[in-house]
């Protein structure tokens, strides 16, 4: 892939390749964490079709900000399991105080391809343990500090609430407007990425390492290693 003339966007077919790569690598590297999975959706619900589209899904995960000052963020699976990598602090959920437990909210993350912007887009929803969705103002409180600030600076152009393209329900979405540009910068800045013929396979992983920061999803360090 010729990075210099590339505009940072990908085709639908490339998205599928990148999605598969993300799912496989995530499973390999982060086996204790809940896996990303591909959800297939028929294009037209009222007719059987050979054509399926789909999206990546990671649901029911907890993203907790432990100490606001440190802005440390963890992603770890529910309940008893903890992810124990040297690079991450592990938390035993049972030791969280009762008030912390009340604050725990769950995230559903979906990665959907946008034909208009030709990039992946993050859709997410946030809800309490009883399934009750959070109000936008409360979501902002749960976002990492720097993310919330950017939100305040450019209100509606950052996170918008839109209909999920497949589920047809209101979801939050990270606006894809600048994605092509910063993906290009990301790849240009990493010589090994540019040289590596399998750049598409790491596209989503790289994308997620940036975008995940908005909601506080930490990407395991090993995901970003070139094989």
């Amino acid at each position: 892939m010729d990075i210099s003339s590339w505009d940072g966007t990908i085709s639908l077919a490339e998205f599928h390749v990148a999605a598969r790569a993300l799912v496989e690598k995530w499973k390999r590297v982060s086996s204790a964490s809940p896996p990303w999975s591909w959800v297939s959706c028929p294009k037209q619900p009222w007719v059987a079709s050979h054509e399926v589209e789909g999206y990546l899904s990671l649901e029911n995960i907890i993203l907790v900000s432990i100490k606001e000052e440190h802005d440390e963020l963890l992603s770890f699976p529910q309940k008893e399991e903890t992810s124990c990598s040297d690079k991450e602090e592990s938390i035993d959920i049972a030791t969280l105080s009762q008030s912390d437990r009340d604050e725990i909210c769950y995230y559903d993350l979906h990665i959907v391809y946008s034909a208009s912007y030709r990039v992946p887009v993050l859709y997410f929803r946030v809800y309490y343990s009883d399934g009750e969705p959070l109000e936008f103002e409360d979501i902002k409180k749960h976002l990492p500090a720097h993310s919330a600030k950017t939100l305040l600076d450019s209100k509606w152009t950052f996170i918008t609430q839109e209909e999920h393209p497949y589920l047809k329900r209101p979801w939050y979405k990270l606006h894809p407007c600048g994605t092509g540009e910063w993906m290009k910068l990301l790849f240009q800045g990493d010589v090994s990425l540019a040289r590596n013929g399998a750049a598409i396979e790491v596209y989503l992983i790289s994308w997620l390492s940036f975008v995940g920061q908005v909601v506080g999803l930490r990407i395991p360090y090993e995901m970003l290693n070139q094989l």
Binding site: A13, P45, W46, H50, E51, K168
Partner: protein, 360 residues
Amino acid sequence: MMEAQKYVWEGAIPLQIHLHESEVTTLPPPLPALILAPRIGYLPLLIPHIKPHFNSTLPPGVDTVWFEYKGLPLKWYIPTGVLFDLLCVEPERPWNLTVHFRGYPGNILIPCEGEDSVKWSFINSLKEASYIINGNCKNVMNMSQPDQVELWHSVFNAGNLEAYLKVSSKLKLGTAGHEYSANLNSGSFVSRQSTGDTDATGQVKTGRVPVRLYVWGVSEDFDDLEDAPQIDSWDKISYINRPVEIHGEEGKCFTLLDAVKSLLPEHFQYKSLTNEESSKEEGEDEQKVPSEEGGENLSEDVESCYPSDNAEVKLVRIQGIEPKLEIPFSWVVHNLMNPEHFLHICVCLKVSQVKIPSDG
């Protein structure tokens, strides 16, 4: 050329709006409100005109306004004309809608806080259109404040086409094939791209056109629109928000039908069983590399292909009219698009009952 745009801009739907019976607290119940709704406008923008009509009878509480047609909550970010074309196959005049001021179905409809929400949705769509056409949103993002206000007001009032055109032309959103020398009488047509680059031989590159396609299918034929099945659920409509990619090939005319078919490849595209494609089919991910060449690809793949489950286009409705499908697509785009530069197309397909089983 201005005429067609003017007709579209001034198109309106007569609405008869009934307050939902659960919100009527006075006797006699209020009469429905009659209002002429601009096609290119949005339902929430009508609220300031409707509310006074029902104010005295509403139960106490905070207003959370939403509209409904025969039980179907209406998506407020879809232009009024498109909703009408889609949901009222046999046009109903006036169009009878129900308004609610309470009990917003937040699990189905995204929130709407009046004019601001509609405006932001409009601007976001405009940015998306700009990105599709130019590869970036810069022109929209860099609009001056007065221009933004002017643009929104011209849409909001749907009265001032000249004002809209003045501001909109600064955005440089001429779409592929926009500038063309058309000889519609003789049927020949040459399209040139206004924003694309041309190389030394004069071949133009692909351009992308913002399109929103609303597709619904029927398995039984109908001759009269009255007999068309009623759409009672959004699940019955396939919403395809995908740009149409067109080439400016010398001597070839890219028609409206070509555009519609390019967005529905599974119904119209000939599948080529080359080695490359069969190796891509794995497990449940049956992915077909989407052809980015619209209809022009077909002749190349004829040797090793089979027709897919072909559907029949029963109805194509844009801005309340059913254009002849042979009309050059670029004409349709230029004259029938909405102010946010999207062309909204309502399509009814007749699909056969017997379906080829999926490989997945």
